[in-house]
């Protein structure tokens, strides 16, 4: 189950938090991409649409795009308009570049081609970041600073996770320069000022390009779930930058529920998701002592995953909102942790799933979910 290239480009682009994303698509693609973003951020409305209609399909969508650009420039107080051309304009052959180049606007305009049928969501994310790299400016290096690459504004717990990761790195004497893609245009422009790029699951092509063109090294890291996962994450960055920090975590909160943790040891679980899934599975397995019976990525065969879970002893499922059906069928709880989550909100910035604090919150969520599930009556 993959959202396709258009969704990836939308997620990367809408992560420039003061930019406006102009989707050159029919209504449905615009609605679909945006709906997942609005669950936990209902007033962050920075997307627009050219509303490709039968007329555009027949006569071309260039006029609609031109008109939309003018209107967007007038209506939004934004430094940047990002045009994403989806499936329909790709097939009918709209010359998006010509329209963008001919427009004289106050805002800077950048466009990208992202027909859904031309690649996966990750392809769309990677290519969009490469395109956005054109916005970066040469900047003086800030010693001991990193860029975090791989985020999207509609990731579950993204704000809380970023806050926690920044806190941990700051403790280690590392400053986060830019979070990609969850930053302002100005922050994005000055990404080259970092001493190191840290890639979390996606954005490798951008990191590779920045290494090639700017000599900026990068580290590929697992998403920092759990105590050990987080310690490893901080240590690796700290070591790379030579800040020599040993992160410390507080085991006390776990002591308060040690009996529950004992009881849950050996719990058979299954995990599915994007790049977050592997790190989550490592935490569940390595730190909570759960038995991860089935682990899959979104791009794997979903029906095969479902079948494997059904044939396993799984008692807790970890995934996105789309796994609720399997959980319900098997009468087991679902812990939502990765995109798309549309039936849970995350609005408290101090309740992350990543980092040391995240390990506590996640453990709390798991225990509460299990305890309130209804026991034998369920």
């Amino acid at each position: 189950m993959d959202g396709g290239k258009f969704f990836g480009a939308f997620r990367a682009s809408s992560g420039i938090t003061d930019a406006v994303v102009l989707n050159h698509v029919p209504v449905g693609c615009n609605w679909g991409a945006a709906i997942f973003k609005t669950t936990s951020n209902q007033f962050d409305m920075r997307h627009a649409c050219t509303v490709m209609h039968e007329r555009e399909i027949v006569f071309g969508g260039e006029d609609a795009l031109r008109e939309a650009l003018i209107r967007a420039d007038e209506l939004y107080d934004t430094p940047l308009i990002l045009v994403i051309a989806g499936d329909a304009p790709s097939i009918i052959g709209d010359d998006v570049e010509a329209v963008v180049n001919s427009a004289t606007l106050d805002a800077e305009v950048m466009w990208m081609e992202a027909a859904g049928f031309k690649g996966s969501m990750m392809d769309g994310y990677e290519e969009a970041l490469l395109r956005l790299a054109g916005l970066m400016k040469e900047s003086e290096t800030i010693q001991g600073s990193v860029n975090l690459i791989g985020f999207s504004p509609d990731d579950f717990k993204v704000d809380a996770d970023v806050k926690e990761i920044k806190r941990l790195l700051l403790d280690a004497g590392v400053e986060v320069n830019t979070v990609i893609s969850k930053c302002s245009l100005e922050e994005f422009r000055r990404a080259p000022a970092a001493e190191l790029n840290v890639v979390l699951g996606q954005g490798t092509l951008l990191a590779e390009q920045m290494k090639k063109e700017l000599g900026l090294p990068y580290l590929k890291m697992d998403y920092p779930y759990g105590l050990d996962g987080t310690a490893h994450f901080v240590n690796a960055i700290s070591e790379e930058l030579g800040t020599g920090h040993e992160p410390e975590f507080d085991i006390e909160p776990f002591k308060r529920v040690y009996l529950y943790l004992h009881e849950l040891y050996g719990t058979p679980v299954s995990v599915i998701g994007d790049f977050h899934a592997e790190a989550m599975a490592n935490f569940l397995d390595g730190e909570l002592g759960f038995n991860v019976e089935v682990s899959a990525r979104n791009e794997d065969d979903y029906f095969a995953f479902e079948e494997e879970v059904r044939n396993s002893n799984t008692t807790i499922l970890f995934g996105s909102s789309f796994e609720q059906n399997i959980a319900e069928t098997l009468n087991i709880p679902l812990i939502r942790f990765c995109y798309p989550v549309f039936d849970n909100v995350c609005v408290y910035d101090d309740a992350p799933y990543a980092g040391f604090r995240g390990a506590v919150c996640l453990t709390e969520a798991i225990i509460n979910t299990v305890m309130s599930y209804g026991g034998m009556n369920k």
Binding site: D2, G32, F43, A48, C49, R55, L75, Q324
Partner: protein, 538 residues
């Protein structure tokens, strides 16, 4: 009223509450568990609309043991799992042909053929509904051709659901004006359809491709539903069946909320009750000769509901025969309502509502059926502006509404778009201010005007039956004079009343990004024609 009387009424109300099945509880459950998704998604329509494909997925999901199959790229089958009317229940099994670049060049028919077979063997459904997307539509795949040549032990359906074919924004303006023109004379109600948003296409396709010739059975009706997840659907359907039953009329099925076999037998009904667009029913008339009756706005309220059943009886040649049954049902409910009307009689009311095509008939229910002594009817027309309804149309609506109220002798003062100060003044002159939409953020700021919220229960007033109004009366009487919850409802300053809202597009926040995105969407959508006249009519 003093405390003793309140206590007495409260006891009386408590006893009454146990007399019937808890219809109210059903409404509140639906409002909470469906509404949290549906109501929120409705607000997002300020910034975009969903794809026609998702409307079709929703309608197909209503058919028992039917599987929608998306013929398009993988991305279309991800977000289309969520349908605005049923966000809490995604279509988890939404297979897709996963068209890629090669298929766009060489066509996706082979993939479709293969996928249909795979879907059958995986799910063993009664029906596979193939839903083409913008991509397969553009490529020009012959979906009908593919499904015709396949021989599988299940039914196959082709629903034209390409996302780039949708209605225009302006179409609503003319429809709203035509409704306003017909408030005093319902015979002038607009007899045209707005272009479909997926549901209509499924309805038309099942008539065209699935239904089979049947011998028409007298006094048998089909009812088109908005889907089983509509607020209060179960209890409303129960009542409709009961009243029809008393009239000697049977309900054949609810469309499309039924099985495939039932769909095939749908032409056995003498009459179709149309809830949405007429196109499918006209097609049934053309193919099988079934007559139809549309559920219009003027079928609300005691007289309206009575007229609906009379009109249905007339279509079924039951004039006269059914009269007694309809009158009996109406009188029973009126009798039951009387005890609540007496409770309301001692107080003065102001009612805050919003302007829409049903507003005059809703006001008539408050004033005539419930007999609320209304001094002021406060009508907020801003929603219409938010829906791109023109100032001219809004003027026509206000004028015609007032003329209708005068003609019906309702006797209250109409105040359009009252400010907070005006509402404060009105509140001082009445005992109660009721609001059938959530208004604390507008009128409750800083502990301003105390408004009684009836937003959830107003759904009871839009039913094709008499009991909803009675249930509403019971609820209101309990709210006004019952004891339940009174301890906690006095000093509210809800968090939602502490935000700043856009003055026209409430409840949109007063936020530059929201305003710009709303205006951007509205402007771009307005530019689109839909292959119909300038007014959106087909």
């Amino acid at each position: 009223m003093n405390g003793d009387i309140n206590m007495q009424i409260s006891k009386q109300l408590h006893n009454m509450a146990n007399e019937k099945e808890n219809v109210l509880h059903e409404i509140f459950r639906d409002r909470v568990f469906n509404g949290i998704h549906q109501g929120t998604t409705w607000q997002f329509h300020r910034y975009g609309i969903n794809c026609k494909l998702s409307g079709s997925v929703y309608a197909v999901s209503e058919i028992e043991n039917a599987v929608p199959l998306i013929h398009g790229p993988a991305g279309c089958a991800v977000h289309q799992r969520l349908k605005p009317r049923k966000m809490y229940a995604p279509i988890y099994n939404l297979p897709c042909t996963n068209l890629n670049e090669n298929d766009v060049i060489y066509g996706g028919e082979d993939k479709l053929r293969e996928k249909i077979g795979e879907v059958y063997h995986r799910f063993h459904p009664s029906l596979i509904a193939v839903l083409p997307t913008c991509i397969s539509g553009l490529v020009g795949d012959d979906v009908s051709g593919v499904i015709t040549e396949l021989d599988l032990p299940c039914d196959l359906l082709h629903v034209p659901s390409e996302g780039f074919a949708h209605r225009s924004r302006e179409s609503l303006d003319m429809m709203m004006r035509d409704y306003a023109e017909s408030w005093k004379d319902p015979s002038r109600s607009p007899a045209y359809d707005l272009r479909g948003c997926g549901h209509e296409e499924v309805m038309f396709s099942i008539v065209d491709q699935l239904m089979e010739e049947q011998e028409i059975a007298p006094n048998l009706v089909n009812i088109e539903s908005f889907g089983r997840f509509t607020y209060g659907f179960r209890s409303e359907l129960r009542e409709i069946k009961h009243i029809f039953g008393e009239m000697g009329v049977s309900v054949n099925l609810t469309l499309p909320t039924c099985t495939v076999e039932e769909i095939k037998r749908a032409p056995a009904a003498e009459l179709n009750i149309v809830t949405r667009n007429l196109r499918w029913a006209e097609r049934m008339k053309e193919r099988f000769g079934n007559d139809h009756l549309r559920k219009w706005f003027f079928y609300f309220g005691f007289d309206g509901v009575e007229k609906f059943y009379h009109d249905a009886a007339s279509k079924l040649d039951l004039d006269g025969e059914a009269d007694a049954a309809i009158r009996k049902e109406k009188m029973q409910s009126l009798q039951e309502l009387e005890k609540y009307q007496k409770i309301f009689a001692g107080d003065d009311f102001a009612v805050s509502t919003q302007g829409f095509f049903f507003t005059p008939y809703l006001a008539k229910i408050y004033a005539t059926d419930l007999k609320l002594p209304i001094k002021y009817l406060c009508v907020d027309m801003q929603l219409l502006r938010a829906l791109n309804i023109s100032e001219e149309t809004i003027e026509v609506m206000i004028t015609n509404m007032q003329e209708a109220f005068e003609e019906w002798g309702l006797g209250f003062e109409v105040v359009t778009n009252p400010t907070l100060d005006e509402m404060s003044e009105i509140a001082k002159k009445v005992d109660h201010v009721l609001s059938d939409r959530i208004t604390p953020p507008i009128y409750g700021k800083g502990g301003g005007v105390g408004v009684m919220d009836i937003s959830a229960t107003r759904y009871l007033l839009f039913r094709t039956g008499f009991s909803g109004i009675v249930e509403f009366g019971k609820y209101l009487a309990e709210k006004l004079h019952g004891e339940r919850g009174k301890t906690y409802q006095n000093n509210r300053e809800p968090i939602i009343s502490r935000f700043n809202y856009d003055k026209i597009h409430y409840p949109m926040l007063d936020d530059n990004r929201c305003s710009a995105s709303r205006e951007m969407w509205s402007g771009m959508w307005s530019m689109k024609s839909e292959g119909c006249d300038n007014n959106g009519r087909r």
